[in-house]
């Protein structure tokens, strides 16, 4: 009925007219705010969009604050473990540094004397609070025998009183049964150093007439045949002279901290007894 050409031209005109209408409506909408159609559509679509948007937000929230946090929690666990390991390593390093400092002192002490010494670690302590002995991890196989003196750089510790192949028992100078021949460094007053309680020593059989004051240093005399002469024992902290009696009562605080005793040295070559007197 219509030629092809006519149909193309008509179609083009219809499209131009439609475009004109669309442009006109666009102009009307812009100039007269929302059209009722748009309002109707937004009335229905808006809440749905809002709902979807909130759901997505909620999902995102769950993802970021829960599922994502599972990974964060795992990471946190890992970091905590790494932190604990690092803390342990720091502790080990500090402990090594302290041990190193102690052993350095030991080496210096060893090289400053002519004694043949063997170092040992304290592995056990006396189960009774009334007696003071320690167990060390060196024994007969290391050349230890009963009566050998045990020392640290700060002063004397005690003597070996029992030995097995790999371990030895050391009676500390703060033990009540301990007795060390000693003298006051300043006045050369002689006496016997014995244990008093868990931390202190007493200096017995010191004549009243001898001059001893608080702060004096007490050293080994070398007369007991166990401890070499001149090793420090402790400082005088109390002097008491009764009205009667021939001796004075003296309290000594040892230079060695027996609560922190960890390593000791055992002198293997006993000194010759010097009977020259002071």
């Amino acid at each position: 009925m219509f030629s092809k050409k006519t149909m193309v031209v008509t179609g083009a005109i219809v499209l131009i007219v439609l475009n004109g209408i669309v442009f006109s409506f666009n102009y009307i909408r812009k100039s007269s705010f929302q059209s009722p159609a748009v309002q109707t559509v937004l009335f229905f679509v808006g809440p749905l969009q809002d709902g979807i948007s909130r759901t997505i937000e909620f999902a995102e929230d769950i993802w970021t604050h829960y599922f994502f946090l599972v990974a964060t929690a795992k990471e946190n666990d890992l970091l905590r473990r790494q932190l604990a390991e690092a803390g342990l390593q720091i502790h080990e390093c500090r402990e090594m540094a302290l041990t190193n400092a102690r052993l350095k002192q030991f080496v210096e002490f060893r090289s400053s004397t002519n004694f043949t010494m063997v170092a040992a670690e304290v592995v056990g302590k006396d189960p009774s609070p009334w007696y003071r002995t320690v167990i060390i991890n060196k024994g007969k196989s290391d050349g230890l025998r009963n009566g050998l003196p045990v020392v640290v750089p700060e002063g004397i510790v005690g003597k070996v009183t029992g030995v097995s192949d790999g371990y030895a028992k050391v009676q500390l100078i703060i033990d009540r049964n301990s007795a060390v021949d000693a003298l006051v460094q300043r006045t050369r007053a002689r006496g016997i150093n014995g244990g008093l309680n868990n931390t202190l020593c007493r200096f017995d059989y010191v004549l009243r007439k001898l001059d001893i004051t608080v702060g004096d240093t007490v050293i080994t005399s070398g007369f007991d045949g166990i401890f070499p002469k001149g090793l420090p024992i402790g400082g005088v902290t109390k002097v008491f002279r009764r009205n009667a009696g021939i001796f004075q009562e003296i309290e000594i605080t040892p230079f060695v901290n027996f609560h922190k005793l960890e390593e000791v040295m055992i002198i293997l070559n006993l000194p010759e007894i010097e009977m020259t007197g002071e």
Partner: protein, 176 residues
């Protein structure tokens, strides 16, 4: 099976009180942990269960301590024999009674040490520190005795059951 378990428990207690406890607190020492063991054997176990173990415990403690040789051994044997007699008059099932008996044991052992020290030094040795020490030991006893009682019950009953089980197995006739 029983004796190795008894012995292992004894060695464990000796190690704890000579190596572990002094590291934690050197000033206020724990009471002797073998005392509750001696009293447990005395009150709850047959005579032949307790005697060899307490002999071993006493010798072990005497060897590691600087105390006069035999003092621990005699202390444990005294406690073992003395409290065994109390079973005739008192039924000790409650931990409070066990606590009291262990406190008596601790006081008895400390008295033995005090006598030993006083006789050794030839003078009456008394100091506030010693009183403080005994006081702290009693406090520790109040805390630790019920726990030790439970521990001994659990370990030794398990050892008994194991022993019974193995005896039953050994007694079964073997399949041809």
């Amino acid at each position: 099976m029983r004796y190795p378990v008894f012995l292992a428990t004894t060695v464990f207690l000796v190690i704890v009180q000579t190596a572990l406890v002094p590291e934690l607190s050197d000033s206020y020492r724990l009471f002797d942990l073998i005392i509750p063991l001696a009293i447990y054997f005395s009150l709850f176990r047959p005579f032949l269960d307790g005697l060899p173990i307490l002999l071993a415990a006493g010798i072990m403690m005497d060897m590691v301590s600087g105390a006069p040789i035999g003092i621990y051994l005699t202390a444990y044997l005294w406690l073992f024999v003395a409290f065994r007699q109390t079973r005739r008059w008192v039924r000790i099932k409650q931990s409070i009674l066990f606590q009291i008996i262990v406190i008596l044991g601790v006081l008895f052992e400390n008295a033995l040490f005090w006598i030993a020290i006083s006789t050794q030094s030839g003078r009456f040795v008394f100091s506030p520190k010693a009183v403080q020490l005994v006081f702290f030991q009693i406090l520790w006893t109040v805390i630790a005795a019920p726990i030790l009682l439970m521990m001994f019950h659990a370990i030794f009953h398990a050892a008994d059951r194991l022993g019974e089980g193995s005896m039953r197995e050994n007694g079964k006739p073997k399949a041809p």
